[in-house]
């Protein structure tokens, strides 16, 4: 065996020392470099994972917020649409009411105007009748004044006849 090592140019002692050196170096490196490095890597990995997780959560939240925003916007749009629709309906009802009231008012005004016109017509008619009566009366009086004695005589004769009839009735009674 040692012959074979010798023929191959391997010095087993050197190999052993190098092996020991290697083990020592490995132990030192493991203790002072690999472990802290692994720890650092592990922490970094954890941080990255945490970051990824947080990022994913943030993304999910953003998505949820977006969804919520969409929903809220939809609801707001719906509410706004309903408000506008209600407003339109109310405005239409108000306008209809105003138009109806306006129409009624116009009818009332027309009716009142008609009544005023009728009343004025009636007043004018009455005034005309009154004037005509006054004219007829004045004409009759003027005619009578042309020969008042004749009219007086006729009327007094009528009165006398009436009184005679009355006296006869009383005397019979």
């Amino acid at each position: 065996m040692s012959e074979l090592f010798h023929q191959l140019g391997v010095d087993w002692k050197l190999l052993l020392s190098q092996g020991v050196n290697f083990l020592i170096l490995l132990a030192v490196l493991t203790f002072f470099l690999f472990r802290p490095l692994l720890k650092v890597l592990e922490e970094r990995k954890k941080k990255i994972e945490l970051g990824l997780k947080v990022g994913k959560e943030a993304e999910e939240r953003l998505l949820a917020i977006d969804k919520m925003k969409e929903e809220k916007l939809g609801e707001a749009e719906k509410t706004a649409f309903e408000i506008v629709k209600k407003g339109e309906a109310e405005a239409k009802a108000g306008a209809d009411k105003i138009i109806m009231e306006g129409g009624k008012k116009a009818d009332d005004i027309l009716k009142e105007a008609g009544q005023i016109a009728e009343r004025r017509q009636e007043e004018a008619r009455l005034a005309m009748a009154k004037e005509a009566k006054a004219l007829v009366r004045a004409a009759i009086i003027k005619t009578v004044q042309l020969d008042p004695n004749a009219v007086d005589a006729a009327l007094v004769s009528q009165a006398v006849d009436e009184i005679s009839g009355l006296s006869a009735k009383i005397s019979r009674g």
Binding site: R137, I140, L155, V156
Partner: protein, 124 residues
């Protein structure tokens, strides 16, 4: 009024019936009493009632005739002959009657033969 017109008329008539010889004194005292009582504004009503009472007492009627204008004597005679001497006929003028006569007998029976009434009736 302190006393009603009817009471004055009754008192005057009774006083005149009881003492017809003191007619002037009664009239004077009566008018003085009406004046003192403050009832002078109603003297016309009182006198009308007295006239009515005396006329009725004598069996006559109180006739009030209103003419539009003074009538001729002929017409007045024609009108008056319808009443007896017991009747008391008062004649007054009211131009607003236009023509004719309005007769009121005993303040109750009215006979309106005036042109004013006929015109009013015609124009009503």
């Amino acid at each position: 009024m302190k006393y009603p017109a009817e009471s004055y008329a009754k008192a005057f008539s009774e006083a005149l019936e009881e003492h017809p010889s003191k007619k002037d004194h009664i009239i004077k005292s009566f008018l003085g009493a009406v004046y003192r009582n403050g009832d002078w504004p109603a003297i016309e009503k009182i006198l009308n009632l007295i006239t009515q009472k005396i006329t009725h007492g004598a069996g006559g009627r109180v006739v009030s005739a209103e003419f539009a204008r003074p009538l001729s004597d002929k017409l007045i005679l024609e009108f008056k002959k319808e009443f007896s001497v017991k009747d008391h006929v008062e004649i007054s003028l009211r131009p607003e009657l236009v023509a004719g006569v309005r007769v009121l007998i005993d303040g109750e029976k009215e006979l309106d033969m005036t042109l004013a009434k006929k015109i009013n009736k015609l124009l009503q």
